[in-house]
Amino acid sequence: MALALIVLLPLSLFWLPLVGRRFGRHGAAATAGAITLAALAALGVAARAGLTGPVQIVRLDWMPRLGLSLSLRLDGLSFLFCALVLGIGALVVLYARYYLAEDDRRDRFFAFLLLFMGAMLGLVTAENLLALVVLWELTSVSSFLLVAFKHRQPEARRGARRALSVTGLGGLALLGGVLLLGQIVGDYTLTTVLASRDVIVAHPRYPYALALVLLGVFTKSAQVPFHFWLPGAMAAPTPASAYLHSATMVKAGIFLLVRLWPALSGTDLWLWSVGGLGLTTMVFGAVVALFQHDVKGLLAYSTISHLGLIATLFGLNTEMAVVAGLFHIINHACFKASLFMAAGVIDHGTGTRDMRRLGGLARSMRSTAILTTVAAAAMAGLPPLNGFLSKEMFFKEAVEVGASAAQPWLVPAVATLGGAFSVAYSIRLVWDVFYRPATGALDHDALHLPPVGMQAPIALLVAVCIAVGVAPGLVVEPLLLDVARSVLRAQTPEVHLNLWHGFNLPLLMSGIAVAGGVLLARSRHGLSEVGRGLPDLPAGADAFNATLGAMFRFARWFSVTLNRHELVGYVVPVVLSVLVVGTLPFYASSWSGLSGPLPVSPAPAALIAFVALLGLGAVATLRFHRRRILALITLSLSGLGSTLVFVELSAPDLALTQLSVEVATTVLMLLALNFLPAESPREVTLPRVVRDASLALLFGLAMAGGMYAVLTRPFTTIADFYVATSKSHGGGTNIVNVILVDYRGFDTMGEVTVLGVAALAVAAMLHDTRIPRPRASGEGRAWSPDRHPFLLRIMSRPLLPLLLLVAMYILLRGHNLPGGGFIAGLVVGVALILQFLAGGLDFAASRLRFSFVAAIAIGLLVALLTGLAAILFRTPFLTSTFGHVHLGPLEFELASAMAFDLGVFITVVAVLLTILTRLGRVGVEPTERSDA
């Protein structure tokens, strides 16, 4: 429980500081501090049981089938990191309380800080690897928010983004690595994974898993070549840098390295990748640090260097090196956090962190100078400070492991070189800031001296550095052993930490390093020519930027240049895809699948004529498509051909429908054509015409081929059921109509809905569209003044009752013979259209005084209610019934489907009226202005 509280307190209450501002100026800081201390207390309670026994685990299943559970473990290693996170966290909160005293967004800062703290605590206590990844990414996100805290500054935004990008990349890789590990082991539980080293290492996918995990580790811990985000992240407020970028977040990578050390280490691959890259990073960071001008920049590179050192130790595959690495984690956290805070004090006091402007601060900032000097000495590895001890251990391991290499001197030499640079930049830091004569760039009287609250955390950390250095056996050894045991278990070596080990090779190396460091520091101006080039090395940042830049450029080219958002650009891929899916299968079968086993049947002469009409109409439409009215005529021709094909091939209902729709379409297009150009200009580019023609031809061939392939195959179908039951069970002899209103009435319901929506859409689109009528035809001919030609106007009137009668006839007989609500609706619609044509819109519309839209709704309602009525009889929607009705001398058959058909009928009429009258109303009398 206490274990869970450690994590949950900051993670679930991170928003409290946002509220905490209500409790006074420093309510946010106080809230954050209280939460941190409470978590610290919880840690104390949790650790009371001791860290030597079996690890404590709490478990909460989150996504069990994925293998993700929220289980926490507390062992030596997680205790150490919890203690660092919370201990330094508490100090940082205290420090920030003063550092950000003037910032009115500090409540947010503390919230983000708590969020980060919680994520970090969860990460280091995670028992489930997937949960670890979750929290790992959360540290990246909260760090992003912290780095960008001063988001008005471009470098803050840039730094934050870069940090997030690089660590996010690592996080994704880690996710992959963890998933691989989980799949290899069969479990994401750390306990199981740590016990499965032999399985993991022997698995063929071990290299991939390792590579992915290490990518996460290296990015997070800023190892070369992924180091470059860390200096950029220095744009964060100093308390955040001190916390995240020295003590905690960057150590998350290192933490994972140790965490998985028992499971992944011990192979050459591990040695070379972790050790090799660590060593490189150590030297690189140290060298670059020397030539930084920004105090925080120097500290950032120094951090990189020290993280490299720690990584090297873990890479060496020896138990003692692990102990040394763990020790250095503690030491580095102490001195680097204090140095960052000191940098903040300097920045806070002088307004600059540029070492070229600073100088001579020892006098005015005496206590800071002393504290910084001690911490820097620890960083340089000078006795009697903590840094010295762990560095000695590092040198010792370097010598021992290096001894087995082909060039036994190489590793120790490189280590010493790193040490020398370390000494050099430490000297430079202290010298340039405090002890050299003032540059004159600063007004020493206007210095802003740090409050005690900012000094105290530094002093406390420096005191720890000294205490550990002087009395390691007393102060740190028990903890270190507990921690080491949690990693190394039975293999934990005997460790005795002493300041003095006697004269040995490591001591000699230290001596050389110090001497070299002093030398380097003195001659650094001479080296600065070399140094100036260093940060500009084609290092990670540039490569990263270049890669991303290229990626963005490629993306723009791919998405913008290649796609001009033209209709053909959308349609042609579809056509091409049709050609591929339509021809590839037949091609693969050597075209044998194209023709089925059935023989073709002879075509009746009439059918030949009708198909010819259809085809000729289409070809003529193509031929005349630029002369639009003519194209409409030829389109009707094709439609007529289609109608006749339906007639010939035993589909009377289809023929009727096609025909009526055809006319309605023609009227519609004529209405629209009045406001469109009468002719299309010739398209000039021959290549395009050729391309389109070939595509069209191939498409037509594919369709013909597909159709032929279907028609020449034998076939079994469910359709005979309809034939057999239409009369007996559906109450109608027109099988197609019974299908439409009964068997598949649901389709028809949908179909009339589509019609209704189309009408609504047209009404909505044309609601406020008014277009001046053209004064003359496309050829410039004036319109005839005869608005409503006489004979049509007069004779259409007696035609109307006749046509309505026909419509009623078609409506009522549809269930048994060709016809039905849809066709009847079209007939009525067309009959009314005739009135519009003959008498004009105003004449006809003023005689139809009802809302067409409401009529659509009513039609749909009738159909829908017919369907729903079935539910009242406890049968499914649309279930129909029929029977003979006897009314006196009358006897007739009624089917409930007829009510449905009536709904269809009403809808169709209303839809036609809506669409055509809306379209008819678009035209307005031309004004002078519209002619211009």
Partner: protein
């Protein structure tokens, strides 16, 4: 209880009718809006409740087989509601409710018939998600398409008109191809019910294989067009970009219809153990999914405008879904179901946030360059942060969970192809979205919002919050949701059980046309009053 499936279709239609009739009474178009809003919202709430009921029922193992007009399957159209259908329907209802609330601020008054059209769109979606009949699916596709055309044009304007023109023409071509595909399948299998198709597809001979492959390819193409799969992805960004904000949020579910169609066709009909047609399109689907994922991501990188970016995120999400579906494993499908739920809410929420951002930034709109402060910059910023994290797949949100599910579902043989693409695209999105968030919310040209800009539309913040909170809830309740998704996927893969349920115990064997003079005994329905109990 039994009628619940059809209510999901009938109620939206009834609501649309009601709104139309009410609206027709009003003299001025806006006059009836208040009532329409209330009716529309109440109806959507009922739909949400019903759909949750459907989920509860189906989660308990029940499958609704609603034989419309009370004819036996496969002769009737049957609505088949299993876990997956129920999920999709619920997703639709909830999304529509949020969209309705968002639009009820003032967007719905900028044109005519918003609420009827919204309900008709919902009707089309629900029908498409529930129907067990291929041609009926076509009909519902058309309903949802025509409603989407109308909604796309909602609010007017030249940009919208141009986008609509392209979208409509392209989809008309697509609909024509759908009919051809249906024709080829009917002409070979002789049936339209998808369960019956699965039965008959397993029996086709080797000579019919090319024809079936072509038909399957055409269907893939048709669904791919709806879903915006490469190479038919190009239409989506300009179209969704042009739509008004609530409409584009609603469109977040449109692409899922295509993916859903692929799931329903390519697993039971052309899936495993189907004789000659086994796995007819499997490698294609995975390959196209990965390609879509890449193309969507590249588009997101190239985006210069916020809403445009979101549209590419949709393409990206389609690719992701297909990558999961295309593995053709139960786990892959489970992951994709989870992802579908996640991405629907996420992209819809992102659209609403984007709409508010564009609105509040005044003239500069959603352009990804330094702009003025926003009235609600802080709130919108946090909403965007959550959305972006979820989109990238950063924990602890549903985006992370879904990516973990997809990656972990990938069988080892496919990991080499799938993992690098999924991880790399996630990384690129991370880079781009952090850039975008930083530009929009941090790189401010001034402290005060632009003159003349208004803080509204207020109504969209609540729905955006609601939609994005799904990212949190789906992650928090990841365990049960994951279990549900896995059961859902298992049910989709359990072809035999589905066939049993849909076609009943006396699943008819194919009859040749020559030997069926009278209706076989089992088919006679009347005068049996009893309804086939699913």
């Amino acid at each position: 209880m039994m009628h619940l499936p059809v209510v999901m279709v009938a109620l939206p239609l009834l609501t649309a009718i009601g709104c139309l009739l009410w609206g027709a009474r009003a003299v001025r178009p806006r006059q009836s809006l208040v009532t329409e809003r209330a009716v529309s919202q109440a109806s959507l709430l009922v739909l949400v409740v019903i759909s949750i009921r459907l989920i509860v029922e189906t989660a308990a193992g029940h499958v609704f087989v609603y034989r419309l007009a009370n004819w036996p399957t496969p002769y009737s159209i049957a609505l088949v509601v299993d876990r997956l259908s129920a999920t999709m329907v619920a997703l639709t209802a909830v999304l529509a409710l949020f969209v309705q609330v968002a639009a009820a601020g003032d967007e719905d008054g900028r044109g005519r018939f918003f609420h009827p059209l919204l309900h008709l769109q919902v009707m089309g979606l629900c029908g498409a998600f529930m129907t067990g009949d291929l041609f009926n699916l076509f009909v519902f596709f058309e309903i949802l398409l025509i409603a989407s055309y109308a909604l796309l044009m909602f609010g007017g304007g030249a940009v919208r008109t141009r986008a609509a023109l392209h979208y409509v023409v392209l989809n008309l071509v697509g609909s024509a191809l759908f009919l051809v595909a249906i024709g080829m399948l009917y002409g070979t299998l002789g049936t339209l019910n998808m369960a019956d198709m699965a039965v008959r597809a397993a029996q086709v001979g080797p000579t019919d294989r090319p024809l079936m492959r072509a038909a399957a390819g055409l269907l893939l193409l048709v669904f791919g067009l709806k879903a915006a799969i490469v190479p038919m992805n190009l239409w989506l960004p300009p179209t969704y970009h042009a739509a008004s904000t609530p409409v584009s949020a609603l469109f977040a579910i449109m692409t899922k219809v295509g993916v859903y169609g692929i799931i329903r066709v390519f697993i039971p009909i052309f899936g495993p153990d189907q004789g000659e047609v086994t796995g007819i399109a499997d490698p294609w689907i995975l390959g196209l999914g990965l390609a879509t994922l890449v193309v969507g991501t590249l588009g997101a990188l190239a985006a210069t405008e916020l809403k445009q970016l979101v549209t590419f995120l949709i393409v990206n999400s389609v690719g992701t879904q297909l990558t999961a579906v295309g593995q053709f494993t139960e786990q892959g499908l489970a992951a994709s179901v989870y992802y579908i739920i996640h991405s629907t809410f996420l992209t819809a929420g992102l659209f609403l946030v984007s709409g508010a951002v564009c609105h509040q930034r005044g003239e500069i709109g959603g352009r990804l360059s330094s702009g003025p402060a926003m009235h609600e910059g802080r709130a919108l910023g946090y909403l965007f942060l959550v959305a972006a994290m979820s989109a990238v797949g950063l924990p602890p949100l549903s985006g992370f969970v879904s990516k973990a599910l997809i990656l972990s579902a990938t069988p080892p043989a496919l990991q080499g192809a799938v993992w690098p693409v999924v991880l790399a695209t996630s990384f690129l999105l991370l880079v781009q979205l952090s850039r975008v968030g930083s530009v929009l919310f941090w790189n401010l040209a001034g402290d005060v919002p632009p003159p003349g800009s208004k803080p509204g539309p207020h109504a969209s913040r609540g729905p955006a919050l609601g939609l994005l909170s799904a990212s949190v809830l789906l992650a928090v309740f990841g365990g049960p949701v994951d279990t549900f998704c896995r059961d859902t996927a298992a049910a989709v893969y359990d072809r035999e059980a589905m066939i049993q349920r849909v076609l009943g115990d006396d699943a008819p064997t194919p009859k040749t046309r020559d030997d069926m003079p009278v209706p076989p005994h089992g088919y006679v329905r009347r005068p049996q009053p009893e309804v086939p109990v699913p």
